[in-house]
């Protein structure tokens, strides 16, 4: 074989025969990306960690002072911040639960052959391909109390979805469910199509009920992928900024990311907002770890 002939050469002339050595190519292909990500992701984080211990304000030119853990202490004892976290938790639970139910329900309905299945699946994907900020803006019109089609269709009179403090957060969650159920649907559909058909055939021969088949065959076999969708959407919902920010200014819908934005770029409380960013970051890392832990479990199966 010719490859044997090549390996008989000494390494240096082999490299020469192939142009750059594999090691050089590997480094050339990988190092720029790693360097880029370190410079634009890790370095800013170190930079802001430093600022989180100061009273720095980006809109003033006065010198800043080192204040130690004061920012963190103040934030953790601030009821306002805690209420932002409670709002975020409520939002994550409502919108992710809604997406899981709607998305998986749609996938169950779609998991059969019928005419134009591909087209319908594609059309259902459209919401998640759109810009959340622009979608949020436009849902303002749909939710409008005086001429919005939603209130008209459901006969809600002049119910003000987005300016009512009790409903604003849920109105945002409904829009988020509309946007991201297709993602859950898509993953579930992939999971459902991977269930071996012979299991269903065996269940049919045994005259098993639909419910029995669903809980004993379908659900256990798609649960790993449902879990992935769940954790993925939870992480994303926790970070939500654009959709809620463009839809409403209600304090009851002030998610933690919005709070962070206001503190950093409207109140220009830079040092303290860096500290808040770190608190959020630690929470994201906790969720991520959960994600990796479960992912490894899923992989083991």
């Amino acid at each position: 074989m010719a490859s044997v002939a090549l390996t008989n050469l000494d390494p240096a002339s082999r490299a020469a025969a192939r142009g750059w050595s594999d090691l050089t190519i590997r480094n050339m292909f990988i190092i720029p990306t790693l360097a880029f990500l370190i410079v634009f992701n890790i370095f800013p984080l170190i930079y802001s960690l430093g600022y989180s211990f100061t009273n720095f304000a980006a809109n003033r030119s006065e010198p800043w002072q080192f204040v130690g853990l004061q920012n963190y202490r103040e934030l953790l004892s601030d009821d306002h911040i805690w209420s932002n976290f409670v709002i975020t938790a409520k939002y994550v639970i409502v919108s992710v639960a809604g997406q899981m139910i709607v998305g998986f329900g749609l996938a169950l309905l779609l998991n059969r052959s019928f005419p134009m299945k591909g087209l319908i699946t594609t059309l259902l994907l459209l919401p998640m391909m759109m810009s959340a900020a622009v979608v949020g803006l436009f849902w303002q019109l749909l939710y409008s109390p005086s001429w919005g089609p939603i209130n008209y269709v459901f006969g809600l009179g002049d119910f003000a979805w987005l300016s009512n403090p009790d409903s604003a957060l849920y109105a945002v969650a409904i829009t988020d469910i509309w946007m991201w159920s297709p993602f859950v649907m898509l993953l579930s559909l992939a999971g459902l199509s991977a269930v071996p058909q012979h299991l269903y055939e065996a269940a049919a021969i045994d005259r098993a009920s639909w419910w029995y088949t669903f809980t004993r065959i379908t659900l256990p076999l798609v649960s790993p992928i449902l879990l992935i969708a769940l954790i993925f959407r939870t992480m994303e919902a926790f970070k939500t900024f654009d959709i809620a920010y463009t839809m409403t200014t209600q304090p009851t819908a002030e998610l933690i990311a919005i709070r962070l934005y206001k503190q950093a770029f409207q109140q220009w409380d830079t040092g303290k907002s860096c500290a808040l960013a770190y608190i959020v970051l630690i929470m994201v890392l906790a969720i991520t770890n959960l994600y990796v832990k479960y992912l490894n479990k899923v992989k083991e199966r």
Binding site: S3, L34, M130, V134, S146, L186, L187
Partner: protein, 318 residues
Amino acid sequence: MAAVRTSSEVALNRVAIAAVLIATLIFLAPIYWIASTAFKPKDLAVSVPPTVLFQPEVTPFIRLFTKRVQMQKTVDPQVYDAAPWWEKRIYDGGERVLKVGKDVQLSQYPDRFMNSLIVAVISTVLAVGMGTFTAYGFSRFKIAGEADLLFFILSTRMLPPVVVAIPMFLMYRSVGLNDSHIGLIILYVAFNLSFSVWLMKGFMDEIPKEYEEAALVDGYTRMQAFFKIVLPEAATGIAATAVFCFITAWNEYAFALIMTNRRAQTAPPFIPSQIGSGLPDWTTIAAGTFLFLLPVAIFTFLLRNHLLRGVTFGAIRK
């Protein structure tokens, strides 16, 4: 062999298909509302009850692209007759188009749309390019701590944008990259690179190593084998990854809101900022939204098969 079906199963199937159709209509209704409002006369956008059927017109798009001012008195009939058709639509609405000499003054929308296009296209090319090389590196060579490195790459995507935005804003301000195309492009590359590497690695792993080995035996260098054998094989994967990166960069809001305000502002922060106070002109906003959503809708439709594969593929691998 098709399983024998009882009549109740057939009936159940029909109910399910009907439910799918109804769900699809519900999901598409908001999109229909955006698209239809973009073609409505001004008063029908806010009519009670909401108007579903109407005579479509393009006036909202004319208003979207031009700078206008309310007219104090009715237009001179001679001027009206001499005006082109689109200007007549503006006159009919009680406004006139602002001009410098004979040149029509454009609104800010085309400018913001172009910014979106520049930033999304360039950042996509860079993210997919770098991602393809890196994915090949990870796919074909032994790398110490490969799993950890790949996880590090993925972890950069998990940060909330607002968290990274604060230090980036300060760094950009000190080097003068604020409100510049380059600044935004760098951020979007950083944001999309992790996704691009992971997705491309999936595609690269599927291309048999034997293809390159055969090329190497034929006297190709590694680089020649990569460009002439691997890249063409990976073309569909590259296209799918590119569309995902483009859609993300095209739709991004938080970084664009924080890092730009005039020169380099993209459409996502611009369109909501046009709502202002008082009664917004929803038809013009809808026209801007509709044009902005159009490329993504077309991409989604043209590349539906790759997208389906890409979404599930990426998620399952992660």
